[in-house]
């Protein structure tokens, strides 16, 4: 056994816990999870059946943690997990799973397969079976601070631009602010309007906020590739910065898995609760709206729909907030089929969009979203995840579809009732 495989198997031994043991004990191999997974429904290839993607993990559990498995292993009756097998499984664990969590909602015995994939990636990554694209993104996050290699000067450039555009100051490193906002690299590069939108909304609502020059990047490639040690380092940057600035809350940006990383995994990675709250920008906007601090005027007249980012809706519980916000700014909002917690993924979550190897498969899986959009016939799709947004735009372009993708925060900012200066 190579040292890397040894490390991988060791990592899997570490992550196997009671829920996973229960899940494997319960699986009846009914295959219903296949129909919940867009990588299966759009390819009809049985190897993309979610539970099949964790088969090596199942065998390891059986061999290491059950009496029958131990006896079988003793008599040499069980097939050991090998490097070749893990290599074969790499496309199943990384390319064909966006960790969207739909299979976990469908499984009749209640198996959280997504949870198992997340755990399995711990063994895959450390034994050298993660895809190059995702390794690269992780490396850049660790070494440069962001998966796209964006550094502070680039952000400062965008800040100046947005300040010029909005005429507002964008605070940075303000001690004792209520909120510390985070961004995803994609927003910094592709959708800087988000930053301007935040400035406008917070200024109007009188929210005290700041950015941090030490931790502005919210995305966490360590989570996507599945290396807790690296994910911890990444999340720790934010924790350190937020605690240094003594903010009350940290705002997770329009990015799905960044929210998962910060809100749900972070405290468990660092082994303690934070000294601050984590809110998703949509939650905060909805709170401001309820408090009457977010007044809008006018409504988009064309028909539009909303794409629920998996990590924000199904895996994050933010479902009603975007609909309330949209109700204020859209005259003709139409739900897609399977909305809310039953949404279908864009196909690029969970590191798939960073994985060049998976591009073809991802575009094939996009047919599901295409079918949903075709059935609905709208030309504007709002969402609240920069990653979804890029993946959707790529998919739409690939299939020559004339649909515009808009960030919800920007849309709200566009309809903001500007308060009189000085107030």
């Amino acid at each position: 056994m190579t040292a890397s495989l040894q490390k991988g198997i060791n990592a899997l031994r570490e992550v196997l816990d009671a829920p996973i043991a229960s899940y494997f004990s319960s699986c009846v191999r009914c295959g219903m999870c296949a129909e919940a997974c867009l990588f299966y429904t759009e390819t009809k290839d049985p190897k993309y059946t979610p539970i099949h993607k964790v088969e090596p993990l199942r065998r390891l559990w059986e061999q290491e943690y059950t009496l029958t498995g131990r006896v079988k292993k003793m008599f040499g009756l069980s097939k050991p997990v090998t490097d070749e097998e893990l290599e074969e499984w790499s496309p199943l664990v990384y390319d064909s799973c966006s960790q969207c969590g739909r299979c976990s909602m469908v499984c009749p015995v209640g198996n959280d397969i997504t949870y198992m994939i997340r755990k399995m990636r711990e063994g895959m990554a450390i034994s050298g079976h993660a895809p190059e694209g995702v390794i690269g993104a992780t490396k850049r996050t660790i070494e440069l601070g962001s998966p796209m290699g964006i550094k502070l000067p680039a952000l400062q450039t965008q800040i100046s631009k947005q300040e010029a555009e909005t005429g507002l100051t964008i605070p940075i490193d303000v001690q004792g602010a209520d909120y510390m906002a985070l961004l995803s690299s994609m927003e910094i590069i592709n959708f800087p309007e988000y930053l301007g939108a935040l400035a406008k909304i917070f200024h109007n609502a009188g929210v005290s906020w700041t950015l941090s020059s030490e931790a502005f990047e919210a995305t966490n490639s360590g989570i996507q590739i599945g290396v807790a040690d690296l994910a911890r380092d990444i999340v720790m940057r934010i924790v350190t910065a937020a605690e240094k600035l003594k903010v009350k809350s940290v705002i997770s940006p329009e990015c799905g898995h960044a929210f998962t990383a910060l809100r749900w995994e972070g405290p468990n990675l660092i082994g303690r609760p934070y000294g601050f709250k984590v809110v998703h920008i949509l939650e905060l906007l909805d709170e401001l709206r309820s408090a009457g601090k977010l007044k809008t005027t006018g409504k988009e007249s064309e028909a539009l729909t909303y794409h629920d980012p998996c990590q924000i809706a199904r895996r994050g519980g933010v479902v009603e907030q975007p609909r309330r916000l949209l109700g204020d700014v859209a005259a003709d909002f139409r739900e897609m089929s399977d909305p809310g917690v039953w949404n279908w993924c864009c196909g690029g979550g969970g590191g798939v969009s960073a994985n060049d190897r998976a591009e073809h498969l991802r575009l094939t899986a996009f047919k599901r979203k295409k079918a949903q959009l075709d059935a609905l016939g709208v030309e504007t799709m709002v969402t609240a995840c920069a990653n979804c947004r890029i993946v959707l735009e790529e998919g739409l372009e690939h299939y020559n579809m004339n649909v515009k993708v808009v960030g919800l925060t920007e849309l709200v900012a566009e309809h903001l009732v500007e308060q009189e200066a000085g107030k």
Binding site: K7, Y65, T138, K139
Partner: protein, 361 residues
């Protein structure tokens, strides 16, 4: 007289032709043959020689003999018994002591190879068969000696057929059935505790009429009488199918004559003719009198658990085994649990902080 056929016997007794017709019809009915077979019975009667019969009683309660003699219907069945030459029977013969044993030996010698051997009671094997002897001869020895010269053997009652009550757990005398000792002779089992008299006379009539043993099932019982279960022939069967059951012996269901399954009736697994032949000249039978079938014509019916518990229930309590299994399972569970924790702790200890370099193999 020893060479005469049953027809000769009937003639000698001055039976008319109508009487003969009645005899054949009744015999066919007794043999559970279709009425049209009466003609065959008549034809066969003239051919078969009247056999000598030796009746040996071993570990038994005389219930079988009681049953047969009490229920015996004078005209027809007495004809059957008249047709045999019962040369030795403990209970019924007048002779006793040495005279009786001499009669047996004499009869055996005279009809060597041709007599019919009837046996009731089981045979003890433990401690050289000391638990039951006749005239100082162990049952085992007497059976072997008598069987050697028999044309066929009829095991009368469940004890002779399957060991019966003496064979019941823990079987202190090592009792066994006739068929476990005698392997080289045709054996007809007529089980029952006691057997239905009409069934025994039916078997004898068959042997007398056709000179051969009847068709037997895999437990050596004549199919004509034991071919179907009590349950299938039971007049209460429709209640079983409808799900109407007596819950106690004095409830509404019992009064309405509903199925006795819940009260422990063993009818479904018991093969006998009670439901059709009935007892006491066709008066009634156990189920008709409101009591479930005990299964007395089946092997080991004494060991089948309570007579008053349903057939589908466990024979012996399972709670002890269950408690033990849970305890052992918990002990093994604790052991594997500790081993699992150790494996996990070892994995944790072996964990080295991952670095970027680890990702590229």
């Amino acid at each position: 007289m020893r060479d005469e056929t049953l027809l000769d016997t009937l003639k000698r007794r001055g039976i008319s032709r109508r009487g003969f017709l009645k005899f054949c019809a009744t015999t066919a009915s007794m043999l559970a043959l279709p009425p049209a077979m009466a003609a065959e019975v008549a034809a066969a009667l003239g051919k078969v020689r009247r056999p000598a019969v030796i009746w040996l009683s071993f570990q038994e309660c005389t219930g079988c003999t009681e049953s047969l003699t009490r229920a015996h219907s004078p005209s027809i069945e007495s004809l059957i018994f008249d047709a045999i030459s019962l040369d030795y029977h403990h209970t019924l013969q007048a002779a006793s002591g040495h005279a009786a044993e001499e009669a047996r030996e004499h009869s055996m010698k005279q009809d060597w190879g041709n007599y019919l051997l009837l046996v009731d009671g089981s045979i003890p094997l433990k401690d050289d068969g000391v638990y039951s002897t006749i005239a100082g001869i162990s049952n085992l020895q007497m059976l072997k000696d008598a069987a050697a010269g028999a044309a066929a053997i009829v095991s009368v009652g469940t004890c002779a057929a399957y060991g019966g009550l003496p064979h019941a757990n823990p079987n202190p005398t090592g009792a066994v059935s006739v068929s476990e000792i005698i392997k080289d002779k045709p054996i007809i089992n007529v089980p029952g505790c006691p057997p239905i008299p009409a069934v025994l006379t039916g078997v004898l009539a068959h042997y007398l009429t056709f000179g051969a043993i009847p068709d037997l099932d895999d437990l050596g019982r004549p199919k004509a009488f034991f071919g179907e279960s009590i349950h299938d022939r039971c007049y209460r069967r429709p209640f079983y199918d409808q799900g109407k059951f007596a819950k106690t012996f004095d409830d509404e269901g019992a009064r309405n004559g509903w199925c006795l399954f819940e009260l422990g009736c063993k009818g479904p697994t018991t093969h006998n003719a009670c439901a059709t032949t009935k007892w006491n000249g066709g008066t009634s039978w156990p189920v008709q009198s409101g009591h479930g079938c005990l299964g007395c014509s089946e092997p080991d019916f004494w060991d089948g658990g309570s007579f008053y518990k349903a057939l589908s229930t466990p024979i012996s309590p399972v709670t002890g085994a269950a408690a033990a299994a849970v305890a052992i399972g918990a002990a093994a569970g604790v052991a594997i649990g500790l081993a699992n924790r150790q494996t996990k702790a070892a994995a944790k200890a072996a964990h080295q902080k991952a670095t970027i370099a680890d990702l590229e193999k």
